[in-house]
Subunit: 301 residues, 2 copies
């Protein structure tokens, strides 16, 4: 029976650590880390995320600013808001909640964010620095959260065969790049499989660590893993469930009930990777505040 | 006995095609593609490369500009030269020959090149776009050359198990990203192994296509590959050889004599990946000229 890798617990412990570190940083520098979240429109799921991010900030003593713009906001206005946040000394991290309304060019918006404040790690300069193995880059939150879950559960990827299922730009590829980096949490032998991989099971059975990020409900079954595997399930798929009040439940990319019988450890859905994403956003905001403070000190010396 | 994948022959055929395409583009647009190569100092190997690049340009009718600066050139002067080339309408691609003298910050220099003219594909914005799977990015020359060698020899990586040995920023990681892209030459299941991979042979034996880019002479032996593998050898290692006039010979990362007995196909060293790199620089210069021309047409319409 597998050990459960709880993102809820690891996230809570990390947020407590971040609060302590941020307080020490504030004593030294006089700087309170600040995160701005920009939402365009009224997508209910996005509203929930924005509220959660603001609450998480306040709980650990960060400045938080939530900017909600109407759905018909023109692109130039949004770019102006970003310019303002780029210039704002109280804000060290910002993110624009995706997806944006169709009339706005997401790529142009992401490109406008100062890479030093890009706590989502989606700016091409930061993606490029991550791909180049830079240890100081702001790395995307979900992939960084996966690495922390492994390290803090005692499963260092170093020297291990890791299989990532999924090649998305927000999870699959960046987590593969983190796993390849010559840095803590890296130095793994990494395979990326995806929808075009024939006989997926023959690949996943080679994994000592398996990261499922394909966005397909219960894609990974017991027959597709080897005994003793460590599994991180990144999937959050809605499947209809008339027994639930809201009419659906969330399931991962892994058949949890089957795989937990053979795995050494496994993360659940919900309560796995999800809570880590906001935690890593906070970690990135503190990192950005430190880097911006250090750059300012360097420029004035 | 393996088929030989000759970069010399594939490169020659591609350069003929590029010349035809460039002539057609010139008739339509009035634009002759131009490549500038900047060399700082007198490193003999770098001088040879610069001369080869200039010659290759002229052979296919491109403008070529070779700029050689003294070894004690200050950083600001080099940045000024790059600014000039960025603004020069006759130049569509440029590269600064690496390594640079120690008193110059290479990263700062690379960051100064207009990403649209960055035919080496080393600017973080281009690395980021490559990592994001962008089909229109200027991809680094050597990795692109490897993909072309596979496609033009009839070994499409799509759906294949590809193992890349080496995780460098100029070959290993970018070729892995090209192989993962949902684009021609991509859609492979990709494993990246490296110096921290235990039991490398157990990984390389799973390869249907093996790309050796570790920089270790004859690292890959016959026992480390499975029969029928297709091997691209990116290594160009100098090993002492008193029987040669210059005192050394070039060997790849693959034990060619042994591996060719079991492989379906293999690229030699020299005459393999080497000649493809300059070819892909020319292809990138034409692509950059087209993209700059299209952007100018878009801006003026």
């Amino acid at each position: 029976m597998a050990k459960i890798i709880s993102g809820t617990e690891i996230g809570r412990a990390m947020r407590a650590e971040i609060a302590v570190e941020a307080a020490a940083f504030e004593r030294e520098s006089g700087v309170t880390p600040g995160l701005a979240v920009v939402l365009v429109g009224e997508d209910p799921a996005s509203q929930v995320y924005v509220t959660m991010k603001g609450k998480a900030c306040r709980e650990i003593g960060f400045h938080s600013r939530e900017i909600v713009l109407p759905a018909d906001t023109v692109e130039d206005e949004l770019l102006g808001v970003i310019d303002g946040l780029n210039a704002d000394p109280e804000i060290h991290g910002m993110l624009v909640q995706l997806p944006l309304p169709r009339h706005i060019d997401s790529q142009k918006v992401i490109m406008r964010i100062d890479p030093m404040k890009d706590v989502d790690g989606f700016h091409p300069v930061n993606v490029g620095r991550l791909a180049a193995g830079d240890r100081d880059v702001l790395a995307p939150a979900t992939p960084s959260g996966i690495i922390q879950m492994l390290l803090r559960s005692g499963y260092d990827p170093k020297g291990k065969r890791v299989v990532v299922v999924g090649r998305s730009n927000i999870v699959g590829k960046p987590v593969a790049l983190l796993l390849l980096r010559d840095a803590p949490g890296g130095n793994a032998t990494v395979t990326v499989a995806h929808s075009r991989t024939p006989d997926l099971g023959s690949v996943t059975r080679q994994a000592e660590i398996l990261i499922a990020a394909a966005g397909k409900p219960q894609l990974i079954t017991r027959e597709m893993v080897s005994p003793g595997v460590v599994v991180i399930d990144v999937g959050t798929n809605r499947v209809e469930d008339p027994t639930r009040e809201r009419g659906f439940r969330l399931v991962g990319d892994v058949d949890f009930a089957g795989v937990k019988e053979v795995a050494a450890a496994i993360s659940p859905v919900p309560g796995g990777v999800g809570p880590m994403t906001i935690t890593m956003l906070l970690a990135n905001t503190l990192q950005a505040a430190r880097q911006i403070d250090a750059a300012a000190a360097g420029a004035s010396s």
